[in-house]
């Protein structure tokens, strides 16, 4: 029994570890020649040893440990994404439940959502005259479209049966919203939220490269300007892992909120 479980865990954990090891070896071999433009993993580890072991140092200004850069980026994402989730679900419910709201807003949304996130940055800089709110706005405008569209689809797809139950029980608007609409649309809403968080994280790194200040995007750009290639590689690993964790966070909360109706 215990042996079977151990074998199962090993079967899940070992293949990716072996793959990572294999890729590391290939990378090491490819980048070990004297003229290589990128450092091999052994050099990356040696170069970034200090950054890895001391993520919390703070020498003032932008000279901070990676923890502080990541925290600053996560704060921006948290703010922009929360706004996007709030307004996105509200607008999604509106265009999902009203034919006229959909006819009026849907074409607009279909055009706006194709605008690349960074294209909004100059405009928001002009409007807000400050980097911080501009970055948050870029996150907001990036994440909101999939949330709106998926929520609207979820609301439109509520089975007629559930609507009939609500009508027989004479549920009022607020009761219908909380007991039927939200749980029935939850799987769709969380699909939108998951796409949204992924896009937010994509956009923040790019936006921070342009606006500067503390943040992982700025850290990467700064490292490039100082030709610290190993620092860039370390930062990319962190960005990837955190993006993955954010995705799982939304997926797990979807599972909890959806009470069994969201399949992940």
């Amino acid at each position: 029994m215990l042996q079977g479980k151990a074998a199962h865990v090993a079967g899940v954990v070992l293949p990716p570890l072996l793959m990572i090891g294999l890729l590391g070896v290939v990378w090491q071999v490819l980048c070990s020649s004297p003229g290589a433009s990128l450092p091999p993993p052994s050099k990356v580890l040696a170069d970034t040893h200090e950054l890895i072991t001391q993520p919390f140092y703070d020498n003032g200004g932008n000279d901070k440990g990676l923890f502080w850069h990541l925290l600053a980026s996560l704060k921006r994402v948290a703010l922009g994404y929360s706004l996007a989730a709030t307004f996105g679900i509200a607008l999604g419910v509106l265009i999902g439940s009203s034919k006229w709201a959909m006819r009026a807003l849907d074409p607009l949304f279909q055009v706006l959502r194709t605008i690349p996130p960074l294209a909004w940055l100059p405009l928001s800089l002009a409007a807000f005259r400050d980097g911080q709110p501009s970055a948050i706005f870029v996150i907001f405008i990036t994440a909101i479209w999939p949330i709106i569209i998926n929520t609207a689809v979820g609301i439109r797809n509520i089975p007629q049966d559930y609507r009939n139950v609500a009508r027989v029980l004479r549920l009022n608007g607020a009761e219908f919203f909380t007991t039927i609409m939200l749980p029935a649309a939850a799987p769709y809403i969380f699909t939108g939220l998951r796409i949204g968080i992924g896009l937010s994280w994509l956009a923040i790194v790019a936006a921070e490269m342009l606006i500067g200040g503390v943040g992982i995007g700025f850290f990467i750009w700064d490292a490039w300007n100082s030709s610290l290639i190993s620092d860039i590689i370390l930062a990319l690993v962190y960005v990837g892992v955190i993006g993955f964790l954010l995705d799982r966070l939304i997926a797990v909360s979807g599972k909890l909120v959806g009470r069994g109706t969201v399949s992940v």
Binding site: N164, V165, R167, V168, R170, G260
Partner: protein, 265 residues
């Protein structure tokens, strides 16, 4: 007055306009007495579910009226609880919460929280679902889901219970079992029931009167047969009963011969 409980008067229903216009129901008039068990039988697609939806208030009649206790029916309400063909339980709520939702809504002003809990349990007991009350619909069988659907409808204390082919999707044994329980509940509570079915035996076994509908389009009432069998009824004892055999023969004959004949006329 006994005969004035549920009254359907000259109900017609057409869907669509112009070229796509189709007449589904033509001039349906029907009186259902208080405590009566009425079955409506007809071939599938004849519009019997549409008739039930009109009584439920979920569909609006193109013309004609439905009265319940002398008041015209315009919209759905818990006084005409529906047991839907596909149970329509909310999958994110437990069995208990599905019934409790109805109880809380219908008795929010008239029962205390404790009483509403008791009433929920009582209706789950009636349908023998207390053991699974903490489960979600996805975790129980089709027959059990339909029991919960019945418990939810009963819990609204409806004036009329509307059953839309409630056992249609179940296997024969489960269906027989549920029919027995519906008979018991009907005997105990004396509900007025309107049941849509396409099962001849089910109609004869359960109902006081069987309304036979002609084939669509423009379906109307072909015949009405009163089943004069004493209650409680026992499925096995009835097999050789002349009244049962006669009722069964009459419905079968209508469905296989006259439903077309009347349509052509």
């Amino acid at each position: 007055m006994k005969g004035e409980y549920l009254k359907i008067e000259h109900v017609c229903k057409t869907f669509g306009v112009g070229e796509t216009r189709s007449e589904v129901l033509r001039d349906i008039s029907l009186d259902v007495a208080k405590g009566e068990y009425l079955a409506i039988i007809g071939h599938s697609g004849c519009g019997k579910s549409t008739l039930l939806n009109i009584v439920a208030g979920l569909t609006e009649a193109s013309s004609g009226y439905v009265f319940l206790e002398g008041r015209e029916v315009h919209q759905p309400g818990p006084d005409r609880a529906v047991v839907f063909q596909n149970h329509s339980l909310l999958p994110w709520l437990t069995v208990y919460d599905n019934v409790r939702l109805a109880v809380d809504k219908v008795f929010s002003g008239s029962k205390t929280k404790g009483e509403r809990h008791e009433w929920t349990l009582r209706n789950l007991e009636l349908t023998h679902m207390t053991h699974a009350m903490k489960k979600r619909p996805g975790e129980i069988s089709g027959g059990m889901k339909q029991r919960v659907g019945i418990a939810r409808a009963l819990a609204m204390s409806p004036k009329v219970l509307l059953l839309d082919e409630p056992f249609g999707a179940l296997d024969a044994l489960t269906r027989a079992h549920l029919q027995e329980e519906v008979m018991k509940i009907h005997a105990e509570l004396g509900n007025t029931v309107m049941m849509i079915t396409h099962d001849v035996d089910e109609a004869v076994l359960l109902s006081d009167r069987i309304v036979m509908m002609t084939n669509g389009p423009a379906a109307h009432i072909g015949e009405i047969h009163a089943v004069r069998l004493p209650r409680p009824r026992n499925r096995l004892e009835l097999i050789g009963d002349p009244t049962y055999i006669e009722a069964r023969a009459r419905v079968l004959e209508f469905l296989h011969k006259k439903s077309h004949y009347v349509e052509a006329a």
